[in-house]
Symmetry: C2
Subunit: 250 residues, 2 copies
């Protein structure tokens, strides 16, 4: 299903317990709106999550509740949902059943820090990365990619509210503070949460060049009524949180 | 669980087949971030959807795939997901099991037009509206509320890309074109898709006044790295789509 050339056709999104909703919903909304525009092209999306215990081909439901402070699994009766555990997503694939992917989207969230909580996802990233055309991270998703070694020697950014915690995950990465998103090698890293939408619109602009697809990205942003940032250097949140560049350690 | 005074404590989100992801994910992200800030307050969220056939207390999984053009239910094998039908949400409550709510969020999406596709949701809205403290619609969610008669005599807005289709659903409503959101009576209507985030941040600013909760809303927006619009009259998309005010019919 993955596509060696032309616009990407096979997208994946990695979900883990404690993911940040808008990190994934923002880019997905951009892509959903793309599919509304390109009804003659078949794009596929695979939502990839951990398997239920003992059944590697059956994905388990997942929520943005932080596994460290959420309602225990055993207590998830219908009358005891806390706010985040009420948001239940059903992945379509596990690590073992995911199809070949062109683009893999990895969001952040409290479930990703410390990164040892997402060891299964790091293993999947390492395995999948060589065959991807593009890895796309949002927010602290870059911490997961960094800890998996995939950002070594690259430039990258991440969310600014957790800048120190993220950048220490990638000692061989040049972390760019004032950036809505950064492209380096085949990795796109975006800043916090809603920056994923600006980054995804920029990625679509690259994949669907204006010459061949005039007005497409503007139309997507207009349909979303989203005032997107087209200049990646415009990032007011670096100042808000006092984030500064972190060069790779020698 | 609903709260007669003080900030709202019981939130609900209505999901129906063919809903627009960011319409609901945007406001939910604002509220998730609120719960990160207010760890001493218990807020509940109920995701309300249609029941599975013949079991009024068991909610059915729901996706943003438009029921008119999506993959048939019978064909949803793991290898035949189309893009939107891969996004599967599991509601926590049905119309019959939903708890008392302070705030009900109704997003839009292709599944809401024409509004006869959401007849069960309109019935739930009519039943629930009197006991709500606030009905909050995003995008064409206002068409559903209008067709249910809940916007009669009020001012309202909606998304601008489908302005004509929405406004004809509410002939006794004054439709305001140049508005990121409108507050009228106990109904908040917001413009298209991402406008739901600006509207929800404005609602939180009302419910958590700056005097008692200094900096709270700015902190939420900063954590989301979202450059929010605090002035509801700033709406560039009215011009983009050529939307004009529609006064109530005499």
């Amino acid at each position: 299903m993955a596509s060696p050339q032309g616009p990407p056709t096979s997208y994946g999104v990695l979900l883990y317990p404690g993911f940040e909703v808008l990190d994934v919903a923002g880019p997905i909304e951009c892509l959903n709106t793309l599919t509304d525009q390109l009804t003659d092209q078949k794009l596929t999306l695979s939502i990839i999550g951990r398997p239920v215990d003992g059944a590697s081909q059956v994905p388990a439901p997942v929520s943005p509740a932080n596994p460290q402070d959420g309602t225990p699994e055993s207590d998830r009766r219908i009358d005891s949902f806390n706010f985040k555990s009420a948001q239940i997503y059903q992945p379509t694939h596990t690590f073992d059943t995911a199809p070949p992917l062109d683009i893999l989207i990895v969001g952040g969230g409290w479930g990703s820090l410390p990164t040892d909580k997402v060891a299964p996802e790091m293993a999947f990233l390492k395995k999948t990365f060589p065959s991807l055309r593009c890895l796309f991270t949002v927010c602290t998703g870059s911490a997961v990619a960094a800890r998996a070694g995939l950002l070594d020697g690259l430039r990258a950014t991440s969310n600014k509210a957790n800048w120190a915690a993220v950048t220490e995950c990638g000692p061989r990465t040049h972390w760019v503070a004032r950036a809505r998103w950064v492209v380096s090698g085949k990795v796109w890293t975006t800043s916090g949460v809603s920056a994923g939408m600006d980054g995804m619109l920029a990625l679509l602009r690259e994949q669907y060049p204006e010459e061949q697809h005039p007005g497409l990205v503007d139309k997507i942003a207009n349909e979303m009524e989203y005032r997107y940032e087209a200049d990646p250097s415009q990032d007011p949140f670096a100042d808000v949180f006092g984030a500064e560049d972190v060069p790779p350690q020698k």
